[in-house]
């Protein structure tokens, strides 16, 4: 998986971009937590073989959550969620879902260690990596999507293997296989390449700007928040 710090940074950027009037410290914390959540399947891999980047990275959980959220807030006559947590709560729920998918799963799928998108219905790790250039000699060259590629996958993407053949080493599980290996050397990646450092720095700077502005413009709203 991409470093969890990078997932959190993208989560923070999405929180700043999409929360709108629901933006406050607590809402940002929830959205960032949702972006970090998928990486917890590395812990599950200690018991379930090959759960890393599969169990919580598959599309089914967010699809189901999105369906329920849509049904409750848009289709039903009276939304239970809105009754309980109000407009803000509904907004935070949608943005947290977006962060789970885009910030939590996305960086692993695009050039990370790959994601087992359809697990457990269909077992294959997918990776979107390649190039898309226009050149005066070769015209348009695109290698992200490969139709009819070899491998276990059913989506037209590069596949890395199945839970049997492909193990992802993580801090929680250094060899990627079930069972504790207490003596093994563990590495916790914070930033793996330059661009990830740029993303983390941008997220920190963005949040700093937003929190400062928030504190300056609506102290009155914070008071109202407390009294409610």
């Amino acid at each position: 998986m991409a470093p969890t710090l990078v997932n959190a940074a993208f989560g923070a950027l999405i929180a700043a971009a999409l929360l709108g009037a629901a933006f406050d410290r607590r809402a940002v914390a929830i959205v960032v937590a949702a972006a970090v959540l998928p990486d917890l399947d590395a812990v599950a891999s200690l018991a379930v073989p090959g759960a890393t980047n599969a169990l919580l990275h598959a599309v089914w959980l967010p699809l189901a959550a999105g369906g329920v959220l849509y049904w409750d807030t848009r289709l039903r006559d009276a939304s239970r969620l809105r009754e309980r947590v109000g407009w803000r709560g509904v907004r935070v729920a949608w943005v947290a879902l977006a962060a789970f998918l885009v910030a939590g799963v996305g960086p692993d799928l695009f050039g990370g260690e790959g994601v087992n998108l359809l697990y457990p219905l269909h077992d294959a790790y997918y990776l979107v990596d390649g190039g898309f250039v226009v050149s005066t000699r070769d015209g348009v060259v695109q290698t992200f999507v490969s139709v009819g590629a070899q491998g276990p996958g059913i989506l037209p993407l590069e596949t890395l293997g199945t839970t049997e053949s492909y193990a992802i080493p993580t801090f929680a599980n250094p060899d990627g296989r079930p069972g504790f290996s207490l003596g093994a050397e563990r590495e916790l990646s914070l930033v793996r390449t330059g661009w990830q450092l740029v993303v983390v720095a941008s997220a920190v700077a963005s949040l700093a700007v937003r929190f400062r502005r928030e504190g300056r413009t609506n102290p009155a709203e914070d008071v109202a928040e407390v009294s409610r």
């Binding site: 700043a16 971009a17 407009w87 190039g131 250039v133 992200f144 050397e185 963005s206």
Partner: protein
């Protein structure tokens, strides 16, 4: 250059988070112009060797612009800008500076030979590359900046990824696809990259996702209904 499309995607993500009440088409258009214009230094390459990634890709000019903007709009008693521009455009100018530094210069800093970060004060290209990790064997490890002490002379050297000066570095771009000093018979191949790695496609996609999500979101209800 990292493709302008990638810069634009990341810029949209950042701008959506920072524009606040001023988020609209016109503000986004200004941000996109800010992203594209620095690439014009590719054309200066014909008159000034090594101009690309130097004139439009340093941290000195944006810092100077930020200082001027701060002085004029905050410190002066009568601001020349505030008399001519509405508050919204001053806010957009700040966002433009932020986006230029983080979505443009920073992303090029990590790509190929990097950027001439301190030009015109100092003529030296820097390329940022490395990783940061915590390891149970080695503790905290970072390889972005290489600090070394020579065991014999005791002098300390700092290597932050310097790659050369405007005289020695030419960063290939569609306008000048190869170093003009290089003599070769090969036909010219101009490459216009759109996304040359998975993560660059991801940045484009995330920018577009945020644009779409902002359109689909319901309006913020008035205070009474929240």
């Amino acid at each position: 250059m990292v493709s302008s499309v990638v810069h634009a995607g990341f810029a949209l993500l950042l701008a959506a988070g920072l524009l606040g009440d001023y988020y609209d088409r016109r503000a986004l258009a200004v941000v996109l112009v800010v992203v594209v214009v620095p690439e014009a230094d590719s054309f200066l390459g014909f008159v000034m060797p090594g101009a690309h990634r130097t004139v439009g890709h340093n941290l000195v000019l944006p810092a100077a612009a930020a200082a001027l903007l701060y002085y004029d709009t905050r410190l002066r008693e009568r601001s020349a800008l505030r008399e001519r521009l509405a508050d919204r455009w001053i806010a957009v100018a700040w966002v433009g500076l932020f986006v230029h530094a983080f979505a443009h210069v920073s992303l090029d800093w990590i790509h190929l030979e990097g950027v001439n970060a301190f030009w015109p004060l100092r003529d030296r290209f820097y390329a940022l590359d490395g990783e940061i990790l915590l390891s149970t064997a080695d503790g905290f490890v970072q390889t972005f900046v290489d600090l070394r002490t020579d065991p014999e002379t005791g002098t300390r050297t700092v290597d932050a990824g310097a790659t050369g000066t405007t005289k020695t570095v030419h960063v290939n771009n569609p306008v000048e696809p190869r170093d003009p000093d290089e003599v070769t018979d090969e036909p010219v191949n101009r490459i216009f990259p759109i996304a040359n790695a998975g993560w660059r496609l991801y940045l484009i996609g995330t920018g577009l996702f945020v644009l779409a999500a902002r359109r689909l979101q319901d309006r913020t209800p008035a205070d009474g209904e929240r």
